[in-house]
Symmetry: C2
Amino acid sequence: MRIGIVAPARPIDQGTAARAAAFAAITFPTVDLVFHPQCFLSDGGHFAGPDDVRAAAFLEFANDPAFDALWFARGGYGANRILHAVMAKLAPAASAKSYCGYSDTGFLLGALYAKRIGHPVHAPLVGEINRAGGDAAIARTLDWLARRNPSALEPSVGEEPVVAFNLAILTALIGTPWLPDLRGHVLMIEEVSEPLYRIDRMLFQMAHATQLAGVAGIRLGRVHDVIPNDPPFAEDAPQMIERWCREMGVPFLGLADIGHDADNKVVPFGRLQGAAARP
Amino acid sequence: MRIGIVAPARPIDQGTAARAAAFAAITFPTVDLVFHPQCFLSDGGHFAGPDDVRAAAFLEFANDPAFDALWFARGGYGANRILHAVMAKLAPAASAKSYCGYSDTGFLLGALYAKRIGHPVHAPLVGEINRAGGDAAIARTLDWLARRNPSALEPSVGEEPVVAFNLAILTALIGTPWLPDLRGHVLMIEEVSEPLYRIDRMLFQMAHATQLAGVAGIRLGRVHDVIPNDPPFAEDAPQMIERWCREMGVPFLGLADIGHDADNKVVPFGRLQGAAARP
């Protein structure tokens, strides 16, 4: 299996790539990881090279039939800035592959799923090799891609179609052409580094987005590194989501085993198919 | 002129109300300011009382024909949490009055304008009496409400229909039933206390929101207290908005004299009418 790696948002360094490649070579010997040189670029600031360079790298690998999957190097911020440039230029080869990532790269997963191009998968990023427990995290992505190992999956993934998003990325897609039609889907959300008032505001938008009417249910992933609210908020994240689910008229289905951490599980967008389905 | 004051988000204290009332009594003797007791409530945390209490106070004053206008006490966070409860319960008397505020209370201005109920006005809040230069700020709101004094207006307000929003509030309305139809409108935006990557992400959503297609142009108000970005962003706010306006296909019309400060000018939503029109 040949997996191409590009960085639609922030860059990784050569050491990160070497660690991920070494781990994969030992643990998944049939997997060939190909790092696009764009992964290591900088625009002098936040991004892994200018928008047009990141867009070109994504298109080059997505449209190359020699790759079975694309794996995003890192999140941060910036995948949204290439959507306008790339989404209309995807060739048939782009539909034959999986796309793995989460956090900011959920912009691409969402847009691809909106257009039903390929197989978007919420999964740990390459750069997570640098986390404590990062080996297990990136092994989960590879275990799903290369072996369709169901133990990599978020435990509730089963019969129903599902998606998973960082809440800030989901809400930033609302109203754009790149928010997928999620009728009948279980929607899992997770968040990191936000104060509770912002999380509440994002849940308001999710609950009242006319495009999200018909979602089958909501699951709450981990909410990490909450920024203190001044003055303090009277509710916590689970209370907030239960309240907004009531206002949305959608069942709150409980917790999801996803988040900005090494335990983050795999959520293939849509319905599990064929051999991938659980026994 | 009788102006009712309610607090859909955070509370004010009695001292703030007394200062605003004393200033108005001297400077605008024909204006009668009526503070709803709800303005001084707390829910023990962020809000000026629980959601249902804030909603009831808003409805009580909005539906009371004895008031010519409603003036919001303060922003913060929370006006969105009463939209679901109040918007379907507005009586005919609600359509005969102006509604003044900005920042978080832009949720109500936006929703009222979406349903074409009353006259929403972007204008300084009551609580701004506590700012340095706050007398001049709240005088501007009263000067517009009581005297239709054009010197209170944002200088570009003229022939074309206009609206003004905090960018975070505008983007949180996108996709909901409460985003107004802004075709043909000049849209002014301002922002405070955000890092540039978030501002960029909000501009992405504004630029690609299908509901905002047909906006006549964008003006940029002040962007205050920008939170440092790590790593630094290569662009500043004016460069960012010019880039997103190009991608949106909407002209960038220059700066707007609005923002989270004492100089914030008045922007009556829609088209200036009758005696209110500039000479």
